[in-house]
Amino acid sequence: MPRKKGEGKSGKEKSGVTRRGVLKMGVAAGGITLLTSTKSFRTHFETVANAQGTTTDCLVNPGQSPPTTPFVQALPIPPVKQQTNAQQMSPAPTKHANITGGEAPRADHQRWEEFPPVIYYDLDVRPALHRFHPELPMTPIWGFDGIVPGPTFVARQGQPILVRFRNNLPAGHAGSGGWGIEQTTVHLHNGHTASESDGFAGNFFNPGSFYDNHYPNVLAGYDAFPATNGDPREAMYTLWYHDHRQEFTAPNSYRGLAGMYLMRDDKDPGNEVAGGPDSLHLPSGYGLWEIPLILSSKTFCPDGQLFGGPPGGAPPNGDKFCVNGVIQPYLEVKRRKYRFRMVNTGPARIWNLTLDPNLGMKVIATDGNLLEHPIDITTLNIGVAERYDFVVDFSQAQVGDHIYLRNSQAMFVGGGAPNPLPPNVQNIVMEFRVTGNAQDHSEVPSTLCEYPPLPTEAEIAGTRIWNFDLVNGVFVVNGQIFDAERSDAQVQKGTAERWILRSALPAAGWVHPVHIHFEEFRVLSRGLPTELGGPGPQPPPPLETGRKDTIQLRGRDQVELVMRFRDFTGKYLIHCHNMAHEDNVMMVRWDIVDGGGGQQTSSANFIPNPNFRKGDVA
């Protein structure tokens, strides 16, 4: 359709912004930039919107989804994934990929004999219809077991499991509307998982085949603490699983390929009353006093169908706030303590959440790892892939009260947006209705766990720098473009390293939630060194003092971490978890190697520690 004269902008304007100008432009404020000039940006999208006319299908961003009435549906709780009888797994899972039996190519399972699966799960990755809101029609999604979000795994620490992911997505792409690809690879986010079961971006597989992910559910440090199934101080509790297909993670996950994975142990047995002497008695009971809050945001077409993004574009940030797969639900609560287990599944939105009235939140776990001591907060900022477990005490409220979870974090939505978001009803995530009283045997002890000590200087093999930048519109890390077939760093198994994540990206606008696969890290400091124009390294804020696997890296920012690499070898990833950025390859492959697999000497981005004493790390 020819554009009308005057709809575009003049040729003169367009070269007016240089990269230098971009760096200066705007004010970083969480996920947004306050812009002085968005004329051309907006104009180009308004043109498309006008061209849309009254057509009901949409290929281009409709900008605003159809209106829906908030708080008309109860918060659904994803069902717990049920195990499959081992005898029914056909063909039987094997260490070596069973190609003739229909399995996709993969490397042999590591430590298969040591950690034989005791529970088996069979999971269908398939298309289905889903209703995000009673006023919207059913719309095609892709779901684990055909549901959005996928079923919740409840695993037990020390109990190895095997999950067979069967790709039953529509081969030939019929019905997929052009976004996403019907291949998948599934990453268990923060699993202490061997490389071949880690959902490496390049290990995707086709419809009609299956892929067995082996989750030993051992704790990091297994080799040093075999009797306790790993270092008990490395326990983890709230994980999630999602599509990680190279170049297509954003659309595939946005379509619905995400779900929660919880781990239980003696401290957190899932029952606040019973449980052994080690139980912390945290508010417990999945779906009862312990509620998963799986956040995502979506855009819908004028006809109510899920909009997936225009050709060449990533899925939108989404103007409809969804929890557990539905738009703006409500949850009936009793006057007692609840534990919420929140994960932000993206694809890109960062949330800044406050309860209204503000009852406060007691954070007990960051990225699924218990804090040593709970932290009381009034506002929760959660980037893509981050998890926060927090307790809200509704006994402060009265029966009949309505309490709202509000989001104030603006994102780019085809141009500037006010920041913070106005406190209107569209920006409420969900409602809590206090409906009565209930017994509360739960506790939130002031000490939840003990952390392993940070690695000593003698345990740290060296300092590795990851410098993120955007050059000519291409994400580069240490000047390199991602390549799934190239190892950009070789980390020796059984060592610790200090990692510096540094961003040379524009200070304005984007915040990059950077995720490191395999083991959690501890934040040592935050802030660009003074010689690079920053404020210098500062102690991390309270919520970043715990064990984490995802950290928000702002433009012109630096985060210094320390982490260990234990128990398994193979290829892993570090990447931005804004899925659009991840798909535009803001990602690096690095490998854990043992012995002579690729000794790394000093380089511009790796400074060996002269005080390192090999063999000191457990």
Binding site: P2, R3, G8, G11, G16, V17, T18, V22, T33, L35, S37, S40, F41, V48, A51, T55, D57, C58, L59, A104, A107, D108, P140, A171, G172, H173, A174, G177, G178, W179, Q183, S195, N206, G208, E247, P311, G312, F412, G415, L470, V471, N472, G473, V474, D483, E485, R486, G509, G570, K571, D583, N584, V585, D591, I592, V593, D594, G596, G597, G598
Partner: protein, 223 residues
């Protein structure tokens, strides 16, 4: 209209009209002075690899063009048949067809099968740039230089798309282009190569374990 038909990317005219409206039918001129409608003539029914450049670009354009030359060679059998490459100037005011011809000759990329250098109306090209390459970051999107490093890949029959760095390895670019093929075609390739692939993955794993026989199994970044 039948939504499934629309979604499957069949030649349904409504879907096509939307794609035409999105990509535009801007009139573009190649280095030989031939004129084409962007969607109807250059995109419709094809797999395309599109990048943005300009003739006197001293930055990455020469390196990108040299890389794309090897991509063009790597697409032998497909290029000019169902797969096409377009290098569109972001400075159409200064890049006449003659200027593009000069650029393509200088880089020994003139007259190669299935690869055209294109110019046109500045305003219309600006719209194409936004529709194909935007970051949804207004600051970056207003900066033309932020769109010269990526390749826009698209299969019109499937409406499938992704973007990949133009300076990635040729192997990696060709692999990404192959993802534009229908998955059954890809699955057939995987099926044929499955045993070899398992062997390769196990060799990689052995490399990581430090086993001598697997030395060199993984390319290591030069530092």
């Amino acid at each position: 209209m039948d939504r499934r038909k629309f979604l499957s990317g069949s030649a349904g005219s409504a879907a096509e009209a939307q794609k035409r409206s999105y990509f535009t039918n801007a009139l573009l001129t190649d280095a030989e002075g031939r004129r084409f409608k962007f969607y109807d003539d250059l995109m419709r029914g094809k797999i395309v690899v599109v990048n943005m450049m300009y003739a006197n670009c001293q930055g990455i354009c020469p390196a990108v063009t040299s890389n794309l030359k090897r991509v063009q060679q790597g697409l032998k059998g497909r290029i000019g048949v169902d797969t096409f490459m377009y290098s569109i100037t972001i400075k159409p005011e200064q890049d006449s067809p003659e200027a593009l011809r000069g650029f393509s000759r200088m880089h020994h990329a003139a007259g190669l099968t299935g690869w055209q250098f294109l110019t046109g109306d500045p305003d219309e090209i600006e719209t194409i740039r936004f529709r194909l390459f935007r970051w949804d970051h207004p600051g970056l999107d207003n900066d033309v230089d932020q769109h010269t490093g990526m390749l826009f890949l698209y299969n019109d029959n499937l409406s499938r798309t992704c973007k990949t760095p133009a300076l990635g390895s040729v192997r990696s670019i060709l692999e990404t282009v192959s993802w534009m093929d229908p998955v059954p075609v890809q699955a057939e390739r995987t099926r044929r190569d499955a045993a070899k692939l398992v062997e390769k993955l196990n060799r990689e794993a052995a490399w990581a374990r430090g086993e001598k026989w697997a030395r060199g199994a993984v390319a290591v970044a030069r530092r």
